[in-house]
Symmetry: C2
Subunit: 112 residues, 2 copies
DNA sequence: ATCGACGGTATCCTTTTCGACACTATGTGC
DNA sequence: GCACATAGTGTCGAAAAGGATACCGTCGAT
């Protein structure tokens, strides 16, 4: 399983929670995914359209990891054509302030 | 140069600033370094002692990247033994709210 | 009969990241 | 003469992350 042993060993002491949080949202496109899901539930291809530079495989990966971390939920409808909805969980929603802080800082300090 | 082409192409549109910010603080130990420097200026080995799991080479790398991004300053004193001080720049200090948001979320949602 | 939409997998390959380890220079204290 | 502290640098290699491409099954519309 190619999960994220990124900061797996949380033996870092004081500032550790900082890294713990980063390890959850630090994946290459996770910030973006979470940001878009803050608008509400989206289907797989709706996300794809919003993130044109992400390959299908990467998007699937990131979504799976976010799901494994309990930040988003994945709801499958037994239909044809298939339909899968992605939405923030309660835990994911609690990241709102963090994501917004990142966004605001980025907007104000766009420096070259 | 092995810098951070991480989110180099900032062609992501709406949530882009989120990724932009993450690309600056998303390095493996950058969050920690910034967090500790919020306490005030630190010398190289003082940082090392606070981050026991970081190899010297990695610490140097992260510091160099943070400096290149204008988040920290590096002051060399022509002494022997050598002395180098690291401190947050104005720009680095402006990250305070972001770092604290990360830390607080991490503390509250430590979940297994 | 073929095409497209949907939500993926599977496979392969390249790039990036990270860690281990060794090595450097200089001056001081023993 | 030796070790120690300081703040690094260099090289190597493993592992992880990321990207490209091709493929799958089903249904409705053409």
């Amino acid at each position: 399983m190619p999960a994220k042993p990124r900061h797996a060993q949380m033996d870092c002491s004081p500032g550790c929670p900082v890294e713990a949080t980063l390890s959850l949202i630090g994946g290459k496109w996770k910030g973006l995914v979470l940001y878009h899901l803050m608008d509400g539930t989206l289907r797989f291809n709706e996300l794809r359209r919003r993130l044109p530079n992400v390959t299908q495989r990467m998007l699937t990966n990131q979504l799976r990891e976010l799901e494994a971390d309990g930040l988003i939920s994945r709801t499958i409808f037994a239909q044809v054509p298939p339909r899968v909805d992605y939405a923030l969980t309660e835990r994911g929603r609690s990241l709102r302030t963090v994501i917004l802080a990142l966004k605001e800082w980025g907007e104000e300090h766009a420096a070259a």
